[in-house]
Assembly symmetry: C2
Homo-oligomer: 600 residues x 2
């Protein structure tokens, strides 16, 4: 059985986000609910049959370095071969690229199911699809044909190479350098790259025919030196094996695995330190230096990479939501089966009851439910915005949708990571001692999910992105757009759910009041409590999405009741936490910044 | 370097809890600050030199079942042999039992240091000491001599056997049965035990000469049947190897390891499913049935076991606090060394700064500090109460101190577990990607600590103990005593720290108001939100202890400043969370209990 409840997913896609309406757009006109359902059915089945069965084994048998090659569990390759044959790498790409042109919304629901089944295995296609989409967007026709198409077919996999050992959050400090090396007849401006890249998921593996690394590096200035900060950062496609003139695979590029990272979880995804341009093992075309083909213009690397990064950030949120759903499913099943104790007023000699009757167990289940399904709703909403942006009727509409998506991206990455993890913690707790053993899945689910507040920009970096870039350094349009959408929900509620409507209205007023205070405080002080703002802002956004779900009509009475009860629970137990955090942010407390170092 | 800052520990013990004053009591008259310091120095050294070095290895190389014996890492035995030779198993026992009669307060500080160095190795003496103390309190002279003394010497280790596969939190449902089997000439009433015990830490190992299992079992009623609920539950000492008449070790008892649990963390502590009385491998005195010697009277098992359980619960809090301190130390060291990024207004070409300058990193450090040191203060305060109880001048004083300790025990177990774990999560986050790898210690520290909200009574069970037994089913004396101690702190603050005093006064008023509401609601409803009450109540207690530390004079100016800054930080960032939770509890929200099953 899939770990994400299908009835819930169907509600979110069709009753709430009205996925069918997308088929009225030219881009999706060949689709219908039937074709969407076919993708979802397929994803559920592949998750169950090919991703989930090696979940434990891919944790136990980690990727290993065998000579210079990384070997991953054969089951990972087997699952991804089937995933590729089923067309799921290609599903969201244009038909001209061999894709099925399904909406990102459906693609996201599809990946949520395989991620819930085995997030480490699902990470390979996630990165590959994002890599290929960047190339499809910014590459030349030849770059797309030669580098993106094999990824869309699932034959090659892709990576993103940003961090270096000394530069993770601070990309201005990267030192990988790119030296111009002429022009490739097909792939355009050619460079030689030298430097180390850290935390490269899928940096090497033996599950695909080839790997396309998308690498940020600094093009040397005219003075032969690296520029400071973000100056000169450009993007390069660095294939592991260089494409040969005949369309096949040519010689090995100068990229070697300098080490494998041994992680707390998420272990099936090989995570590497890669050395570019050492010239020790491979000297393509007779010289040291990893051959890379520039994508876009010099100095545009970060801007272009953010296309992939933003997709990856939402994907992190999708994974976190998927793991939260999985943990909830395990906990719910366990709570229904495990007997222990009896209600307070029961006879002492009565049979023990399933623990689901105990109020504290129900609290832990419900909290997981509102976190997990709230996170899922949030990332699906973001995915819907990607589709809205793609089919916007005007530039103004496209720009507005893009701004709203930009505002919600750090939330869509971080809220599921923070609260999905909290949900997984509760899933362990419901299992008691059993949850702490590796005989059950929940401890692994927790360990897998623990990566999500870290990679693709830590929680703190997302908070700075939200408060600094998306709010303070913007014209305020995005926030206003969000306010309008919230208003629309409040209007649609009419006389129903009036307590929740009032609470959301008050919470939004607090958002606006807090933002005004932050603007007045100036950038430096405003960022002091950015993490608290992100957490609280995320709660308001998710509260809104719960209210909007409760407002939506559902086919089934039980589903409608479920959305309403869960919405009320979120408003009663969670939203007050946000209001307390906003009050803290508005207090301008700078104790953390001003605490004397000697007292730490 | 020890993972618990020694200057902080010295402040807590001497400046705050005035440990030296205990030497004015007859029981501790032979001690002085010098002898206390000698124990602390020794513990710090043993932790550094013998516990910490195999920390990673004891995680990687788990205990394994070799035939019928469990083998643990040889370094564990080596460390504990040295610990025994140093007299640290014995330190807190009476001189008549070969002990050094040090206060429990000093013993607790000592164990905190070895637990911080390697909690899984330190768990063996923790259980052994608690086991021996139970025997020393409730055993006959012969039972003490034969069963407790070898544990006090550290030659035998002890376990506590309560849970069964089908009965964890609900001990009334245990089915292990004890059948009378005559009288042992030395050890008294002898029984044969039959049944399975689950989650037995140290259930088998090859680090000690013998093991004393303290086992809860039901004595068969006169009708030959097990009683329902808690009726007939009695306590038995079941040695792994039966003591021989000559004082040596005799034949093997009928106890076999039916399985080892493979845990998320805390792996060095062998955790077993034990089968008693299978009669397949060992038939002591020619018959099946594990031979056990009754400790105390029939039906008194649980009451006696709670002596060990309460000590173990505080010890869980000590371990959680120790791990929180360790994670904080790692995070602080990393934040001072790791360079990344620069302050908002710095030049882009300036050198990257240590991350400790970033406000969000400082927030994560400070939060860890107030959690870790708040937890340490809490458990040391509880330990001080154990000493106060032991040297009380009157029965009334002893009773009052015991009641206060009883009220604080679920808090001393749970608050460090909940917030120590939250601290360890932040320690990972500060390390970024590195914190997620097994090359650093913080992910293991987190995994080790994750056990603490589960074992020795889950968080939910502690919440029921606090709200049900310790508050609603009490005469209110304990809460009143706590209120008096809080008042004493407020009086001692005089005109200083007036904002914090006012906030604590208001928070205590909320405690009283909430308790009044819970009393009015009746037992069943009062327990619905017991976990939220426990968390919030713990925050008020720890806020009080921070204020009391800030009030205490310290030898060193920096330490005094540190206590004051940290106190203010806790009051500003944490205490408001408690008030929000109390408001929720008082709302009588029963959504979790009443949420329709079909909607889960």
């Amino acid at each position: 059985m899939p770990f994400i409840d299908r009835a819930t997913l169907d509600f979110l896609l069709y009753d709430w986000l009205i996925a069918d309406a997308l088929t009225r757009q030219a881009r999706f006109a060949e689709h219908s609910r039937e074709t969407f359902d076919a993708v979802l059915d397929l994803s559920a089945r592949l998750g169950d049959e090919h991703f989930a069965p090696h979940y434990k084994r891919s944790d136990r048998v980690e990727p290993r370095l065998d000579g210079e090659a990384v070997r991953v569990l054969p089951e990972i390759k087997a699952a991804l071969d089937i995933y590729a044959k089923a067309g799921l790498f290609a599903a969201s790409f244009d038909q001209t690229l061999g894709g099925a042109q399904i909406p990102i919304l459906i693609h996201t629901a599809s990946t949520a199911m395989t991620m819930a089944a085995n997030i480490a295995t699902a990470a390979y296609p996630m990165l590959t699809v994002a890599n290929a989409r960047l190339l499809a967007t910014f590459g030349t026709p030849a770059q797309i044909e030669i580098l993106a198409r094999p990824q869309i077919e699932g034959r090659w996999f892709g990576t993103m190479c940003l961090s270096e050992p000394q530069a993770g959050s601070s990309l201005g400090d990267i030192t990988t350098r790119a030296i111009a090396d002429g022009e490739d007849i097909a792939l355009g401006p050619r460079y030689r790259l030298f430097g180390n890249k850290m935390w490269i998921s899928g940096g090497d593996q033996d599950a695909s025919e080839n790997i396309v690394h998308l690498v940020l590096a600094k093009v040397l200035g005219e003075d032969g030196r690296l520029g400071a900060g973000l100056a000169g950062i450009s993007l390069f496609a660095v294939p592991k094996l260089l494409p040969a003139a005949d369309g096949g695979l040519g010689e090995a590029n100068d990229v070697v695995v300098a080490g494998l990272n041994h992680k707390m979880g998420y272990r099936g995804t090989a995570n590497c330190l890669l050395a570019f341009g050492e010239g020790t093992r491979h000297r393509p075309a007779g010289a040291a230096g990893a051959i890379g083909f520039r994508i876009g213009e010099v100095g545009q690397g970060l801007a272009i990479m953010f296309r992939m990064m933003n997709e990856a950030r939402i994907a992190v949120g999708v994974g976190a939501a998927a793991l939260a759903c999985r943990g909830y499913r395990h906990a719910l099943d366990y709570a229904r089966e495990r007997t222990q104790g009896r209600p307070v007023n029961a006879r002492k000699d009565s049979a023990p009851t399933p623990i689901i009757v105990h109020p504290d167990v129900r609290r832990m289940l419900l909290t997981q439910k509102v976190y997990a399904e709230g996170a899922l709703a949030l990332v699906l909403y973001c995915a819907r915005l990607v589709d809205e942006e793609a089919v916007a009727a005007s530039d103004a509409e496209r720009d507005a949708t893009g701004q709203l998506l930009g505002l919600l991206t750090p939330v869509g990455k971080s809220w599921p990571a923070e609260f999905g993890l909290a949900a997984n913690d509760l899933a362990i707790q419901i299992h008691g001692g059993y949850g702490y053993t590796r005989d059950f899945d929940v401890e692994q689910v927790y360990r897998d999910n623990r990566l999500n507040p870290i990679h693709e920009g830590t929680y703190g970096i997302q908070a700075i992105d939200l408060v600094g870039r998306k709010i303070l350094r913007s014209n305020g349009d995005a926030l206003a757009l969000l306010g309008e959408r919230i208003d629309a929900t409040l209007v649609a509620c009419g006389d129903e759910l009036s307590d929740e409507c009032a609470a959301l209205r008050a919470a939004w007023a607090e958002v606006e009041e807090t933002v005004a205070m932050l603007r007045a405080a100036g950038a430096e002080k405003a960022l002091h409590n950015a993490s608290a703002f992100l957490s609280a802002f995320g709660h308001v956004v998710v509260a809104w999405l719960w209210l909007d779900q409760a407002r939506a009509s559902a086919d089934k009475v039980t589903m409608r009741e479920t959305r309403r009860h869960a919405c009320r629970y979120f408003f009663a137990t969670e939203l007050p936490k946000a209001r307390q955090q906003f009050a803290f942010v508005r207090s301008g407390n700078d104790m953390a910044a001003s605490f004397p170092d000697a007292c730490l």
